[in-house]
Amino acid sequence: MADIGRVRIRIPSSIKPGDIVKARVLVIHPMEIVERKDGKPVDKNYHFINRVIVTYLGKEIAQFETSQSISENPFFSFSFKATEPGQLKVTFLDTHGGKYEGTADVKFA
């Protein structure tokens, strides 16, 4: 799949201060799965996302540790409380040192 590391974030278009907001995040990533040879897992540095960090208004609000059990082009959704306008940033780190970021602006209508 093209555009490895392309991050897309969707948040609702109309948000009021104090709302609990659901963010939907998708990243393009192969999320390499375990190979097996003669029934045994092949030992190698598999390419998959192992950490997801969410920051809002510059502060880290969530961190996820992820494994190979997650599908390719993984999709995450989580809720947060929109207190002030500002930036929501989601960072994906993978086992090959890749760092992929996406941002969304929280705006109040």
Partner: protein, 441 residues
């Protein structure tokens, strides 16, 4: 593939004239063909499982080649949409009801058996284990109160066309889907369905009170519809050079979104170069090998993905068809005939489930599934993501899937017959905005 006698489809008196002319022609002469149909058999350029092939096993049994996980049963004994299939609809059959008492218990389990009808796909009966029942046919929960003669009920199931010539119920006995003894058990069971009915514990059990599905949200949101990602992956294919040294991008400048803007809104259309109606999928199977050298087999992932990318460039634009063109008009007329043609073991027509006039099935539940209505438009969101299959399906695979449980051997995905049915369906979408890829159950 057998040589196709397209001329057989010319409506009216011209059938005889055309047939006589063709019969008099030596091989290699220009044959008379109906307008809009290719003169020679169409060679399928589909992936092997989508060609509708039937193979003969070493033991002489015949096995249909279909997609992985689909039935291999050969329905060669029943007629299809193929234009060279001259078989008529099987005439209504009638037999004397076998003697002997039926077993209501056996009858009920036959009624619910998913490998047969299931009868509950269309008819509601009593019992909280009846799930999911449909309402395409009448509710039979109190059928026993009507005190109809056994012989009448038996013949209604064996072949309802004696009583209701325009019924959408299959002739279960005539085509051998149900054995006469099984029908005797079902008759015995139906007699036990008597009122008064207990209060309904669950409104979802009864298809009349069951809420209708609400859909799956924004189909163009890549975080919601995986098909959008697949379409985007075709941008690499757009730029990939084939063996002929060229890529799509070399002739169609400006990127797929600009170069293909509005193109898909005009499909399916009659393509003069190939002398047949084609959808985008069909056109790619012939155009790509000629222009780039890359095969884009129908129902292959590359074909589907590129089709979506091309169609997405027309999203929001109204569907238009050039119906003034004689070839298109003739194809549309044939597509309509196919839409109303009863095919397969169940002698069903598309119209049985997808139109509303005359108590047909559209907008009703077939089992748990709500049947789509042709007038709402069935084509402008295809190829579509199917949540139940976790895959992208185009219109043709959807059609092939539809006719498999109906007991018809499928045609090749890129068959002219399908293209013309798709053209007919698309006529209901004219003026409505394209919206690809869709997301459906």
């Amino acid at each position: 593939m057998a040589a196709r006698a397209w001329r057989g489809l010319v409506p009216g008196a011209s059938i005889i004239v055309a047939a006589l002319l063709a019969a008099g022609c030596a091989q290699g002469d220009t044959k008379m063909v109906a307008p809009g149909l290719p003169p020679s058999p169409w060679i399928s350029r589909a992936v092997p499982e989508a060609r509708g092939d039937v193979k003969t096993l070493p033991d002489g049994k015949r096995e249909a080649v279909r997609y992985r996980g689909w039935t291999k049963q050969d329905f060669g004994g029943f007629r299809t949409y193929a234009y060279d299939d001259p078989r008529p609809e099987p005439p209504p059959g009638k037999i004397a009801m076998p003697a002997g008492a039926g077993d209501p218990k056996k009858g009920r389990s036959l009624f619910l058996n998913r490998n047969l009808g299931p009868c509950t796909g269309c008819h509601l009966i009593q019992g909280n284990d009846v799930w999911p029942a449909g309402n395409v046919g009448p509710d039979l929960s109190t059928y026993g109160n009507r005190n109809l003669p056994d012989e009448y009920t038996f013949n209604l199931i064996y072949d309802p066309r004696h009583v209701f010539p325009n019924t959408l119920m299959p002739p279960w006995g005539t085509t051998g889907a149900l054995k006469p003894d099984d029908i005797v058990h079902i008759v015995a069971f139906l007699k036990t369905q008597k009122g008064p009915l207990p209060p309904e514990p669950n409104p979802e059990r009864n298809p009349v009170t069951r809420p209708k599905p609400v859909g799956f949200g924004d189909n163009l949101d890549p975080t919601n519809n995986p098909a959008v990602l697949r379409a985007e992956s075709a941008e690499a294919l757009w730029a990939r050079k084939g063996p002929a040294g060229k890529a799509c991008a070399d002739c169609h400048a400006g990127g797929p979104r600009a170069a293909m803007k509005g193109v898909a809104a005009r499909y399916p259309q009659y393509v003069a170069g190939y002398r047949r109606v084609m959808a985008i999928e069909d056109f790619l199977t012939v155009h790509s090998p000629e222009a780039t050298g890359l095969p884009l087999l129908a129902e292959g992932a590359d074909n589907l993905d590129l089709t979506m990318l091309v169609k997405m460039a027309s999203n929001g634009m109204p569907v238009t068809l050039d119906l003034a063109r004689p070839e298109t008009a003739a194809a549309l007329a044939r597509g309509k005939l196919s839409f109303y043609k009863r095919v397969g073991q169940r002698a069903h027509a598309c119209a049985d489930c997808h139109t509303t006039a005359g108590a047909k099935g559209a907008d009703k539940f077939l089992g748990g599934r709500l049947l789509a209505n042709v007038e709402a438009g069935l084509t402008r969101h295809f190829p579509t993501w199917r949540t139940s299959q976790a895959d992208v399906w185009d219109m043709r695979k959807r059609m092939q899937w539809c006719m498999t449980p109906l007991g018809m051997n499928m045609l090749a995905a890129d068959a002219v017959e399908y293209a013309e049915i798709e053209l007919y369906l698309t006529a209901f979408d004219v003026g409505k905005p394209m919206n690809v890829p869709g997301i459906r159950h």
